[in-house]
């Protein structure tokens, strides 16, 4: 390994640039990734937009011009105006308020689904990779079954089975929806985690650690998980908009959050009814969804470029 003359204890030659001037500053995996991410302008834009949306979601009651459920009798599907900057919807409610509050539920669905997916995928993928041949075989066949099961059917059925229970009332009906979406969506991530861990099991440093007497759990936690996390983070980032879209699709069938709660998928579906008369009820939530969707895509792209050691 090359050393600077300073490090080698040799005095620097005058006029000659030291080797250390050319060396990249030492950085950890995460530090380097962060640095590269910061250089990716599009990813930063995405991150900023997501932050704005998240803030809007959190501070909705403060920034919303009206309560989201308030009915303005006599003003159904009104065009944008001063009192209703985004117009009103079919139920005579203010669209802007509903878009702002909708950020909560839409973002919430997207992010919380990823939690469920991550937990299940880590358990299944990890157990499959580390548990030996039988565990692997069994769990992979289980994944096949879940994967082959038509998602739509499962979500609808699960939602309906749970709708009679107390769970149905959590978060205005949203809990069962994303619980169901999460339950069908973990397969790809589990396979990814398993694949990564299988690869890592045979890398030099893991073998070395085992030879040095490190315990299983230490190897997993200190060596394998951090290296698995990169593609996992990327997958989760792309998973958020995908979950939001799935939820929007489900609204079309009639499954989703309960009125008067708003989320973008629901608003798009509601805006479809009067679409021939006016585009505004569908335009604003669709725009919000598209912008958020794209932001997650840019961020995901950026994260992947930043975390992928091959593109250093």
């Amino acid at each position: 390994m090359t050393q600077s003359r300073v490090e080698a204890g040799v005095a620097p030659l005058p006029g000659v640039p030291a080797l250390s001037d050319f060396a990249k500053p030492a950085r950890s995996l995460w530090g380097d990734a962060l640095h590269r991410l910061m250089g990716n302008r599009l990813a930063i834009v995405g991150l900023v937009i997501i932050a704005v949306v998240a803030l809007a979601a959190v501070f909705a009651p403060l920034i919303s011009p009206h309560p989201y459920q308030q009915v303005f009798s006599g003003h159904a599907i009104a065009d944008p105006s001063l009192s209703h900057p985004f117009g009103t919807n079919l139920s005579s409610q203010d669209t802007m308020a509903r878009v702002i509050y909708g950020a909560r539920n839409s973002l919430g669905v997207g992010v919380l689904v990823q939690f469920i997916i991550l937990i299940i995928a880590l358990l299944v993928g990890g157990a499959a990779a580390l548990g030996g041949k039988w565990a692997d075989s069994l769990l992979m066949r289980l994944t096949d079954v879940v994967y082959a099961f038509p998602d739509l059917l499962f979500v609808i059925l699960l939602q309906q089975v749970l709708s009679g229970t107390a769970l149905a009332n959590y978060m205005g009906g949203l809990f069962v929806v994303f619980f169901a979406i999460g339950l069908v969506g973990w397969v790809n991530l589990a396979r990814l985690i398993r694949g990564q861990m299988l690869l890592l099991k045979v890398t030099d440093y893991v073998i070395a650690a085992e030879a040095l007497g490190a315990t299983r759990s230490r190897i997993v936690i200190r060596h394998m998980l951090p290296n698995t996390l990169s593609p996992v983070i990327v997958a989760l980032t792309f998973g958020v908009p995908s979950a939001i879209f799935t939820e929007a699709t489900l609204s079309f069938i009639g499954i989703g959050i309960r009125p008067p709660l708003a989320d973008w998928g629901n608003m798009i579906y509601d805006g479809y009814g009067p679409i021939l008369a006016t585009p505004w009820p569908i335009f604003f939530p669709a725009l919000a969804l598209a912008i958020t969707f794209l932001s997650f895509q840019f961020l995901g792209d950026g994260l992947r470029d930043a975390l992928d050691p091959r593109t250093r």
Binding site: R141, V145, P150, I253, I275
Partner: protein, 309 residues
């Protein structure tokens, strides 16, 4: 490796069987039956009679027994909604548009997606690049039925280039344009992004630099080396995408009134049409598993580094 694939093929039967049990159980756990007081004006006695006719008053496992007995003989049961037509008939009449739509959309997504991805990777900062990526962006950021309605209003109602609804089979290309574009734009954009990423990764590889250093023409370098190697990860996507399109086309089928089984499937779920739900679920599951398996096989053939144990 042959052993691996033989084992996977054999596994299909138990997987499907498990799915049938789960589906059947869940179906009957849901509230409401096919013969509740619907919009029609039936009487209690009438509904009870119908329920008895289709064994719906028996315990769930007995009903499952009836169903499996019919299934192994190839009889998928009667369609409860139309009381007379068998599920076999319904699937027979309606499978074709769904498959046609799925296959054509997959082709569209692959062709358009790969082309855009290659263009984006090789011709940066040109007009083609902007337009293609712009298109990919629009298609990818709205739900497909929103895209559908925009396209219909513009090209079917205002300009009357294409019909607003309907399906004409493989020969009726005019009917295909709007549904395929609506359904396929999101997968196309996704494929474009993966292709671009893959192309960029391959372009930085040593063997590409070697090829260039050898003095090969850029075009040959691109086509023979870069694209072929870049497409390998894309290949693995086609399976899930095709399976997803085949089984997820119901909104577009509903929207464009395409007489396929996707739409029938949703109606069956909402109408508790148990035999149709079972048949379509098993059919879809079979398609998904088969597509996955085919692609894994293809991948093993194409990439000699892959070895399954």
């Amino acid at each position: 490796m042959t052993g691996y694939f033989v084992r996977r093929i054999l596994w299909i039967i138990p997987v499907l069987w498990l799915i049938s049990i789960i589906t059947f159980g869940l179906m009957h756990a849901v509230k409401g039956g096919p013969f509740e007081a619907g919009e029609g004006k039936s009487s209690e006695a009438g509904r009870a009679a119908l329920a008895a006719k289709y064994h719906l008053d028996r315990p769930v496992w007995v009903q499952y027994g009836y169903y499996m007995r019919g299934l192994v003989q190839g009889d998928l049961g009667p369609d409860l909604a139309s009381q007379g037509t068998s599920v076999n008939d319904i699937l027979k009449h309606n499978w074709r548009p769904t498959v046609e739509l799925g296959v054509v959309t997959t082709l569209y997504a692959v062709v358009v997606g790969v082309s855009l991805g290659i263009l984006a990777a090789t011709r940066r900062n040109s007009v083609i690049d902007y337009v293609s990526v712009g298109f990919a962006t629009i298609g990818a950021s709205t739900p497909n039925f929103v895209l559908g309605i925009m396209l219909v209003l513009l090209f079917a109602v205002k300009f009357k280039f294409f019909p607003a609804i309907g399906w004409g089979g493989l020969t009726g290309w005019k009917y295909m344009v709007l549904p395929v574009v609506s359904l396929g734009s999101l997968p196309a954009a996704y494929i474009a992004r993966i292709t671009r990423a893959s192309m960029l990764e391959v372009m930085n590889q040593d063997y590409i630099r070697t090829a260039r250093a050898k003095g090969l023409r850029e075009r040959i370098v691109t086509m023979r080396h870069i694209v072929r190697n870049a497409l390998i990860p894309v290949l693995t996507l086609i399976g899930p995408i095709a399976a997803g399109l085949l089984t997820g086309s119901f909104i577009i089928e509903y929207f464009f009134s395409i007489p396929g089984i996707g739409r029938a499937y949703v109606q069956a779920i909402l109408g508790r049409d148990y035999p149709l739900i079972m048949a379509t679920t098993l059919l879809y599951a079979f398609v998904i598993v088969l597509a996955n398996l085919t692609i894994d096989m293809l991948y093993a053939v194409v990439d000699p580094r892959i070895r399954y144990s």
